[in-house]
């Protein structure tokens, strides 16, 4: 578990506007999950019709054993 000294995390927590941006993103993910019938429309977690679904070959952000 990262310690609180993580400078990047500290910057992010102190960043004005980030919480609002994230709230909007989570609403987008909820809407997407609801319309596509996948994912978790309650939690706002991205569902399976996501970029992992679209690009399993491009491991830029997808080196994720499922």
């Amino acid at each position: 578990m990262p310690e609180p000294r993580d400078p990047l995390a500290q910057r992010m927590r102190a960043l004005p506007g980030l919480a609002t941006l994230l709230a909007e993103a989570e609403q987008t993910w909820r809407d997407r999950a609801a319309s596509a019938g996948c994912g978790d429309s309650e939690s706002g977690k991205p569902g399976w019709r996501t970029f992992e679904d679209a690009f399993p070959t491009f491991y830029e952000f997808t080196n994720r054993p499922r």
């Binding site: 310690e3 993580d6 996501t50 491991y59 499922r66």
Partner: protein
Amino acid sequence: MYWGGSVSQAWTGMRGINDVPSYVIMQPTTLCNLDCSYCYLPLRAHDRRMPVEVAQAVAEAVNVWAGDAPRFSVVWHGGEPLAAGREHLAALMEPFRGVEHHIQTNATLIDDAWCEFFAERDIHIGLSIDGTRELTSQRVLRGGAEAYDRILRGIDTLKRHGLEFAALCVVSDPRPGLAEQLYGFFVELGATVLGVNVEEQEGVNLRSNAHSDDAVRAFWAELTGAWRRDPRVEVREVEWALRYAGATLSGDPDALLPRRHDPIPTIAQDGRVVLLSPELAGFSSPKYGDFASGSVLQTPLARIVADAAAGPTGWIAEYLTGVESCRSVCPYFGFCGGAHAANRFFEQGRFDGTQTQHCRNSKISLLEGVLDHARAA
């Protein structure tokens, strides 16, 4: 640069290699009918097709893995996979059971018959286009003519058949003023998902990928703003950065990285298996050899993967050392999981270095650009 000194946090993900992949990458042919100026593939002018025996050997392992997993993907890459022809590609796909097939295509060969082929097999389609005609001008036919009209014709055919597609876009010159136009293009095009690859210096593409950090950050910040205003298209990079930011604010960013590396077996046309980094397939070096961990024609794929996971050797062991170096010094490790193997090799000539230009363009500047947008909005 954005980092300095050691990092105090103890990231726990990406330690070692998983002994089961979640997908495999198949090269049905080395041939591509295009000759894009930034392509990294060395044998794209040659039509060396994968024998069916190779696919059968791969399927022996994959069908077991797929039976034990909720999803398992077989990704047909290339070369241009459609250049293998429908009959041969069908024969290569036939041995697989319980998997989802993906094709990454340049779209120029897509016609009604291919669309029927995709629909019959429920194939996930990713295609490559870099934006407007001007922005896609590096995607050319052999002989140098633009491929743009053929790409659009293929996309129109997909749409006519009601087939969804994701798009991969190479950006050679990330800069302010570009992302807004780019995002609008992909909304109009009707892509479901957009992946943005800042051009990489790898393989036979020796062009430098060094850019001004400020320009690249501004590009990502602008893309974040465009997506935020109209989030119809999933944008892989921006949304991944937001997932990381969300995990950080909720106090558990360490949970985002996988515990171990997915081995990502890439099966070259001749059956050789390259793990972890598809871009290394087809290359060799005096120091590291051909980067292959074996051939499915000689050793079962499951054993090749299990052996590499249990006792990594050669370049893979060196790469894992490099990942540990990233873990110890880079504050962005929790976001990125360590510089990719191919970028290390093609930029630095070794696998145990740390920050690459690709890290700066596509990880560090990406995250900082998304944060810049949040700060300015």
